[in-house]
Symmetry: C2
Subunit: 142 residues, 2 copies
């Protein structure tokens, strides 16, 4: 019985591997590296880099904000989205006034380490207008 | 026959309206405004603003790049994604060297008009590493 299961598992693994090879031959490369906050290059853009915030469930892009090293550290430490306001020149937690706190499921950094992606798990408005997303304006030909 | 269809249409419209009202009572506000390229506030950030690029089908965030007024105009005019390179200090079309041109289905601008979202319809790599997305690095606690 044990031997039979092992044989079936081997067949299954081979089939997954075969299909993976077939798919990956035609798709762009897909793999995920693991980095730490120390790998993020804040210096490159004067200490403050852009952060894309995306909804975990709908995958909608919610906002484009900014973070410094401290904002990223606070996000990792607390699990909620912290940013650096370029207009008020201060650290802030999303929802500290509105209550619309945004728990962060995942943090990613791009290929050249100077842009962040926060994937947030919430359905509360991200935009100060009350909308879930700040990107509620279509740009059309004038 | 004509009258019957009209009546059914009216019932259907009422039902859609009723469900919309029910859903919207519990969800964040959702509506889309229409703006033009002239409404985009490039001056606020010294002439160059961030652009989030998102995949139309998978909704993955592909990259964070930058655009000036000319890059946005070229994108609207040609239908392909044009950017402004902050390192090379020049206008460029994604794919002009690699061939991985990114047709843009939709352009959006955020609530305070200083960040853009290009929704692109392609399955070609967006990243110079050959990955579809530049955000292929997870940030974990050190």
């Amino acid at each position: 019985m044990m031997a039979r299961n092992t044989f079936n598992d081997t067949l299954l693994h081979f089939e997954i591997f075969r299909q993976y090879r077939f798919i990956s031959a035609f798709a762009p490369k897909e793999h995920m590296n693991v980095k730490s906050a120390d790998d993020v290059d804040f210096a490159k853009r004067g200490g403050v880099i852009p952060v894309v915030v995306q909804d975990k469930k709908t995958k909608d892009v919610l906002t484009l904000v900014y973070a410094n090293r401290e904002a990223l550290a606070k996000t990792i430490e607390t699990g909620n989205a912290w940013f650096f306001s370029t207009s008020r020149n201060k650290l802030w937690m999303k929802g500290e006034e509105s209550g619309n706190v945004q728990p962060v499921s995942e943090i990613r950094v791009d290929c050249d380490s100077d842009a962040l992606l926060y994937i947030v798990d919430s359905n509360k408005p991200m935009c100060h207008t009350g909308e879930r997303t700040c990107f509620h304006n279509m740009v059309e030909k004038a």
